[in-house]
Symmetry: D2
Subunit: 356 residues, 4 copies
């Protein structure tokens, strides 16, 4: 209820601050008898972790997850899975000056207003470091979904004004995603994006971008009509990720310009559709076509330039650019988008199963 738990049947509760001892969580509702591929889970974490390339934050974290329960002799037992990721490179003294200062477009001000007392070090609870716990849960969900024939592929489709076309997004060669540092499967755009990010960093600035995601193999029937529509829940999950400002499913905002005669997805005799403007979901329920959606990320609020701001007493101050941050968040965000997608789909899978 205080917002740290996601899901109804497959639930993920996370805890931890950017510069505390450790982050971690409890995963409940993971079925028993599923083999846990620890290397796969660690590989998922590695896609999100800082320091992986020259276009991301240089904080050094090995992000080694420790499982504490719910797994016995290599397989899940159905009991809750508790886990920890220690914080290793927490340079808290970098943040001492922020004790009473509010960074623009960060959550310092709102946490202060809501809670009165906060761990200001590195953004505390509001830091995107928390998302590492989501990746652990998402990796477990992926292991489950893989057994059901479901695959999830996120990729960078936009950095600044450099963007893939709508058509290209639906025809991606997923094998190309991890080839590039920026995780964009269009190799030419990928080079441009990387250049743009490096130039932006050099300026002490940051830049926004988009992550697209395609889910294949989802059978018709997942999603609960009315309030818990599949794309509504996907939207919530994506919008819960730090720095996300927008979400669209299928044709998204471009549908606002379209006519019904253009937009309707005509059926083939096997129940699939000739076009997929719906993005694989009708009435909140999957229709068996690929699910695709796009998520917009704002530019990271921490910049390496001095900015005017205020302190908690309302005094005007000047903030220097300090700390280790990402010039552009989308390359690392791909892992988080995939993780949240897996968590949502697994939850709906269990909900659908319950009704059989």
């Amino acid at each position: 209820m205080a917002g740290s738990t996601y899901g109804k049947l497959f639930t993920v509760s996370t805890f931890g601050e950017s510069h505390g001892t450790a982050i971690g969580g409890v995963i409940d509702g993971f079925p028993s008898n599923i083999e846990i591929d620890f290397e796969f889970i660690q590989a998922e974490l590695d896609k999100r972790k800082p320091g992986q390339s020259n276009i991301v934050s240089q904080r050094k974290e090995s992000d080694q997850v420790q499982f504490l329960s719910g797994i016995f002799e290599g397989k899940s037992t159905g009991a809750p899975i508790g886990f920890l990721i220690p914080n290793e490179d927490a340079k808290s003294n970098h943040y001492d000056h922020l004790k009473d200062q509010f960074r623009p477009s960060h959550a310092d001000f709102t946490f202060d207003k809501k809670y009165g007392h906060r761990d200001y070090r590195g953004g505390g609870r509001s830091s995107a470091r928390e998302t590492a716990s989501r990746v652990v849960a998402g990796a477990l969900a992926k292991l489950f979904l893989k057994q059901k024939g479901i695959s999830i592929h996120g990729f960078v489709s936009q950095v600044g004004k450099i963007k893939m076309t709508d058509e290209a997004i639906q025809e991606v060669d997923f094998n190309l995603i991890e080839i590039t540092t920026v995780r964009c499967p269009d190799l030419i755009l990928a080079q441009e994006m990387e250049k743009l990010i490096l130039a932006t960093r050099k300026n002490g600035d940051t830049i926004g971008g988009c992550v697209s995601c395609v889910v294949q193999g989802v059978p018709a029937g997942l999603g609960e009509p009315i309030f818990d529509k599949l794309h509504a829940e996907l939207g919530k999950a994506m919008l819960s990720i730090n720095a996300v400002k927008g979400f669209e499913i299928g044709s998204g905002f471009s549908s606002a310009e379209m006519l019904g005669t253009e937009h309707n997805d005509i059926f083939k005799s096997d129940g699939s559709t000739k076009t997929n403007y719906s993005g694989g979901i009708q009435g909140g329920i999957s229709n068996g076509m690929p699910i695709y959606f796009k998520t917009a990320f704002k530019p990271v609020a921490t910049i390496m330039q001095s900015q005017p701001s205020i302190d908690s007493a309302g005094n005007e101050i000047t903030l220097d650019g300090k700390g280790r941050h990402d010039p552009c968040v989308v390359p690392r965000a791909v892992a988080i988008i995939e993780a949240m997608t897996a968590i949502v789909l697994m939850d709906f899978w269990l909900r659908q199963t319950a009704q059989k």
Copy 2:
């Protein structure tokens, strides 16, 4: 869990199909001792109801709500509020031919796959008729929020390619919204939009659009970090509305093109900000600035033209355009957007209060 309930502390459960006896719901968690302004509630329903103008569906429903409990001597008692809206103009025989047919880009196919057995008349449970119940709950939430100084204004900001600018959206004269049939506060654009809708109807076609919403008077502190961020929940609520394909908060998708130095909202000494790209929310928590967001609606799937489709046996068929439907959904959707916004904000208000 089957998706017909929204909210955690202020909960709205709806029931009913397009052509059943009645639709309605149960509202739980509405505090006691609040005066119920029945005329206001009915006026909210009137903004959503069909037949209100020449640019919406001509189904005739008086949409008179009947309250069955939870209100005594004109004030709420804290007990659940049960209510009904009878279905009056349900021409079910219009739909007999649809028993075994799947309309393109409707939920017929997915409901059939999920449930096996469905009320096909007028879309049954998947019909937007259900949203009348949301407007009842939203009107009650508005009565509560008004006491707290919170106002909500939705309006049409786009129909087809006719759209208000981002700047204009933030400087709307709310008094102009209800002056136009289409509910766009830019009177010149409004005229163009109405013309476009009428022309589209004449062609037997439909067209998409966008509804923007501005919320004023929300104090800093509403929203729960991590998974239940205020804008994430708003996004889910909007995406749960029929025909919605996209949601963006504040700068939204345009933020993907921006630099951090442009996008950061610099504080004034009173804690307000000079710009409001954040849309009134930082880290998932309201910051006291106006909250604004935009929602994209696809063109209505029912068109007055014949279309190819399939039946439940996979046979190819031709569907004629029949029934009474909206050429463009956004004028009526304004009331639904406002209702869901009110429901979300009231729920978070109670959640925040609980932590004091």
Copy 3:
């Protein structure tokens, strides 16, 4: 969250006061394609309704349930089932004198303190009239459970000091329950109980009692360890029924006097046990043996004698005995106990199914 909804996957939300227009509810999560036996549902309501015999309240209610949604052509559709039961014989003027008065051991005082404003007529929301809605939901759950081979039998095992032995409770001929007005399958004790109730009524007094319940056919595996143990949820469900003061599963309070060597249920080779002190549940999970439990009801607080009390200003007053009430609640409570048992078991059935 305000307490009017029960269940996680099979949810029942009720509304309505004793003397309002109607009571009713919304049932969500009932699977599709289940045939609805309307006569059976009405028969269940008839077991609970007032006026059925000379040992219960003489309020006259036909308790005819009206289904408004979720059922199409005689079968469930998976959509929420809305329903109503009109209040017919609501003699509200009987209660005018109670507007500012607190009846001893009723909820008048606590509702007043919690809500400030209340529907005082006939106890308003706190009246056991609300339980008719539970019986509707329970009857639907029974239809589902019957398909799974599960049967539920409640019966009166105690009125005042007249009680069945623990051994007798485990060897009941369920066919005898409905033969007696008091619903006790021991025909000799049943006669004594009826005499005692009639004598108590004659004195203008009321008397307590117990209802026992035996569930057969539950497979091993229902129930969720730790907090949602099957018997813990059964306990909550029973304690949520008006006038219930105690709950025990299997050996219950008598287990406090026993030794481990006596109490352990020794296995037979087929996994069943020689004794059943556990009451069919180990570690919160059903073990395949019959589940049995007992629930204690206090004497009804409304007596037909004058009593001292206070009004809302703290003045001492004298209350006369008025209204139509039960001298002993257990004969009618059997239907409610069975209904709540069915609701709990159906919810756990769906939860267990989700994990497969």
Copy 4:
């Protein structure tokens, strides 16, 4: 949903098995700015821990809790509180023989049926070791409730046939509870109970008992009518504790024998009542009087005698008595009863606050 989380606004999620690396949990919804008294929390754990006296299990655990998040500079931040308790004296090899064997009246059989794969060492997830995590959460809740003037006192009121009277339970000198090893405030009965437990242990047997609990200082208004009645939720919480078979509030099972004229609690002019058969709750809502209830515990299933049983293949086997277990669970259970009571009350406190 899988049962490892308790509460709606104040939520406690636990994880961990008896012989894993550690147990622990995540507490969400604990308000910010509350000073954390670490010594108090540890003292609560010490009341539950094994090895504290000669009448409890001799497993040696220091039960030192490590907090990982949600506390900053000695005060809560409103962020989730993650915590760990390492398992130190886990003699797993004691349990190797149990891999395929089912101990009578333990959860081995039901976990096997439900999950297929289980951590059998020391009962795994079904072990009462899990309750140490509840004591941590309960201690935090107590710190919150203390600020509100609420105190909770559990004590042993029965061991075998040695029991305190109903009258004595309502007039306990709480200072005497911790004086005795068995935690019974009647010093003479306490001696008899301790003798009985030692004699039972000497026989290799175990014995049941009861814990009573009195809560003082609860204002009128806590509890949610209908399904989430305060005593219903207390009942569920108590029945979720290992080995509990019964729960009664106020007059409990003895109310079944009483007349309304005896049982009604007559008001005094200040709203308090002359008697307190209701146990401080009417209609599911606290009335300001002390809340008292009693919980029955079965004899511990592990006995130090050989017993017949079966293995997972259905073969008849003989189990030897091994391991380190309690001859009687109630002295240690007092801390768990108090913890769950505190958790329930804190949750209802927040729920009530939300409605103001």
